[in-house]
């Protein structure tokens, strides 16, 4: 069976019809009626390559009450994603080939997006001994991204060895940059006047920046590739910009929440806004937007971090870190980047699809919209607005920091290898 998409604006560059057949893009142009083809009227919609998120937490195995691979896949599809990377900080940690293959298989079983496991860098995320990086890479899951996310690989010697070791199979270390001596596990509020007033333990930007600076120097020394997860400060942006100018192999991501929300939201002690690294002042937010626009920050990644309600209903300092992000990411980027003219839709395709797929080594995703390419596609309604309601969600969690906000630009449809997973904004 084939699918005809009528009149989609391809990356904002002009309207075309798309004929999808056998999971690939069979024809592009002005296409008349096709026998046996289902038709999607894409008048007014922008077609993007299926979105790719290199940073999600799916909570399975271990905390299936907060999210499962199936529910997280559903949230991803609704958000326009066709591939997501599942972080390793589950229980147990993804640190073996078997654990990685299990996640891959559960993702395939759900069948809504390609779920690619991230492997742990160190055993138990303890930062001391390397996990079985090579066996994970050689497994059916073909793990290429390794991260202790949630924890920083803070020991410089361990980080150096990890960077060197993964070169054997083209891997990359995605670093959660947080010097634990400068921002310990209690640190939860951007260090500044507000943390002083609120009496919350400060998480200074410098605790991120010193690790980013160290890691780019280690990447230079080893000739390896390092990826900086959830960049949150202007200082980190400066370091990354400098490193790129030196030709160092560094890539970086920013999250939708760090691109829009600011630290002042913490004034009411609502743990919904507790996230690691913390929300920063507007100067940092501005710097991140500019860096995403000029390519210093390569990609958007959600750091989707669902939590059961009761894990957020503690005092601020005791509540769990993290915000949800899969379902709202495209709308946020549309609002803060496309709306003000910082990125066009071709730019969005770069930062939310092509580059994340390249960093993660996913060959079937982030491809150009061209004949013969896999039909992983996202149709966006650029003029539709949505007022986010946390209860309208296919995720199992509700820790949604966007609740009540009105965003412009919504996902209309998602296609995974030609099969619609989402139509008219809802799961098929």
């Amino acid at each position: 069976m084939s699918l005809l998409i009528k009149g989609a604006d391809l990356l904002g560059a002009g309207r075309q019809d798309l004929l999808i057949s056998g999971g690939i893009i069979a024809e592009i142009g002005a296409i008349g009626a096709v026998a046996d083809a289902e038709t999607i009227d894409a008048d007014g919609l922008v077609a993007l390559p299926g979105l790719v998120d290199i940073h999600t937490h799916l909570r399975e195995p271990g905390r299936e009450d907060a999210e499962t691979i199936a529910s997280g896949s559903a949230a991803a599809a609704v958000g326009g994603f066709t591939a997501i990377l599942a972080m390793a900080n589950t229980t147990p940690v993804t640190a073996t080939a078997e654990a990685a293959e299990r996640i891959l298989d559960l993702g395939r079983l759900a069948g809504l997006v390609d779920v690619q496991p991230v492997g742990a860098v160190t055993k138990g995320l303890a930062g001391e001994e390397l996990a079985e990086l090579g066996l994970m890479a050689a497994s059916r899951a073909k793990v290429r991204v390794f991260s202790d996310d949630g924890r920083c690989v803070h020991d410089a010697r361990v980080m150096r060895r990890a960077l060197e070791y993964v070169r054997a199979f083209g891997g990359v270390i995605s670093q959660h940059s947080q010097d634990p001596m400068l921002a310990d596990h209690n640190a939860c509020c951007h260090e500044g006047e507000l943390s002083g007033r609120l009496g919350l333990p400060g998480w200074p930007g410098v605790a991120e920046e010193v690790i980013v600076a160290r890691d780019v120097m280690l990447a230079r020394h080893t000739g390896s590739r390092v990826h900086v997860a959830h960049v949150s400060t202007a200082g980190s942006v400066e370091v990354i910009r400098w490193a790129k100018a030196q030709g160092i192999s560094v890539t970086a991501e920013a999250t939708p929440h760090h691109l829009m929300l600011t630290t002042d939201l913490l004034a009411g002690y609502d743990p919904t806004f507790k996230v690691n690294p913390p929300l920063r002042p507007s100067e940092d937010v501005e710097a991140l937007r500019a860096a995403l626009a000029d390519g210093t920050i390569d990609v958007v990644a959600t750091d989707h971090a669902p939590h059961a309600r009761h894990d957020k209903e503690h005092t601020f300092i005791n509540a769990a870190f993290g915000v949800m992000g899969l379902e709202t990411a495209l709308s946020v980027i549309s609002t803060v980047m496309v709306g003000p003219g910082l990125l066009d839709w071709a730019g969005v395709a770069q930062v939310m699809s092509a580059r994340p797929a390249r960093i993660a080594g996913l060959s079937g995703h982030g491809r150009p919209i061209a004949v013969g390419e896999p039909a992983n596609l996202t149709l966006v309604d650029p003029s539709a607005t949505v007022t986010v309601d946390r209860d309208v969600s296919v995720s199992l969690s509700r820790n949604n920091p966007w609740h009540g906000r009105t965003l412009k630009g919504t996902v209309y449809a998602t296609l995974l290898r030609g099969e619609p997973t989402v139509l008219k904004g809802a799961l098929v």
């Binding site: 006047e193 002083g196 005092t315």
Partner: protein, 311 residues
């Protein structure tokens, strides 16, 4: 007056003065042989102390009892993140028994505010982490006012571990609202984050030089310095701290005659305050404790007695 007392920001100048004035008459009750008023008869107040405290808890307990409220005390540690009862469940369980007022002490900043969003009862903050301790600021203001009169234009120095002090934050707001001039004094490592912009926007001063501030102050409030801070690298030795920021015998002599000395307790004699200073005629340390009960009676009265009640 607002429904809860979560922060000193909940009270304007008139509100503070009303509470202090009522505290004066409560103080008279406290000195009577029979210390009981019928004001809160039939009302139930729960003191929920998730953090150890002897003086604040007993002060609130006496205040409630002398106003004839039914007072119960619940103590225990805050629940952990992923296991056990959430704070919301804990307080809602107690609220469901039919409680009119919660007095909350918790080691986490913001706890009292969160509780106020989860229960229908009146919530009084008895100290939340390193955020605020409003009744302490009120009893400090009460004690200073009795000795110095109107605090408008008076100069108060607050000295010590400012970073970790909820007493500081409540006092800053209270004293500024009352029109006092405030200088906070500490080594840079014990100043709260963002103190420079904070001081500028709120109109107080910050100094590293205790001796430069001392001669002009009308009140000096010494804050407790925990010895554990030394291992955290906040200062090198006790000796160096005392020499630089302690209210020593020598500094006591350089105070003006009318200058009063406060300390919220418990004191580290010999570290932040010399025994001569703690026990000097100018010291209000015991007055503060005694004022604590009267001020808390006043707060309970204003927040729980309801319309038409008479003190």
């Amino acid at each position: 007056m607002k429904r809860h007392l979560l922060s000193m920001n909940d009270l304007d100048k008139q509100g503070i003065l009303t509470i202090l004035d009522t505290a004066e008459s409560m103080h008279d009750v406290q000195r009577r042989e029979v210390k009981k008023l019928p004001t809160l008869r039939g009302r139930t107040v729960v003191n929920m102390f998730f953090e150890d405290s002897t003086r604040t808890r007993s002060s609130f307990e006496l205040a409630g009892k002398w106003l004839s409220a039914d007072v119960i005390n619940i103590s225990g540690k805050g629940s952990s993140t992923s296991k056990g009862e959430s704070l919301r469940d804990t307080v809602r369980t107690v609220a469901a028994m039919g409680v009119d007022g919660f007095v909350i002490r918790h080691s986490a900043s913001g706890a009292a505010q969160q509780v106020s969003e989860w229960v229908d009862a009146v919530v009084i903050n008895a100290g939340d982490g390193t955020h605020e301790h409003p009744t302490q600021a009120l009893l400090d203001a009460y004690s200073m006012r009795r000795r110095l009169g109107d605090l408008e234009g008076r100069h108060v120095a607050i000295v010590g571990d400012l970073t970790h002090s909820r007493v500081l934050r409540s006092n800053l707001i209270c004293l500024k609202t009352l029109g006092a001039r405030v200088t906070v004094v500490a080594p840079p490592t014990l100043m709260p984050s963002g103190i420079t912009t904070w001081a500028k926007s709120e109109g107080f001063e910050a100094s590293y030089d205790f001796d430069a501030v001392l001669p002009t102050v009308d009140a000096v409030m010494m804050l407790r310095v925990q010895r554990e801070r030394m291992s955290g690298g906040f200062f090198p030795t006790e000796r160096e701290y005392t020499v630089s920021y302690g209210l020593t015998r020598e500094r006591l002599r350089s105070l003006q005659e009318h200058t009063v000395i406060l300390h919220p307790g418990p004191m580290n004699r010999g570290l932040e305050i010399a025994t001569d200073a703690a026990d000097a005629a100018q010291s209000l340390v015991l007055d503060q404790v005694s004022a604590g009960v009267a001020v808390r009676m006043s707060v309970l009265y204003h927040l729980l007695a309801g319309e038409g009640a008479v003190a």
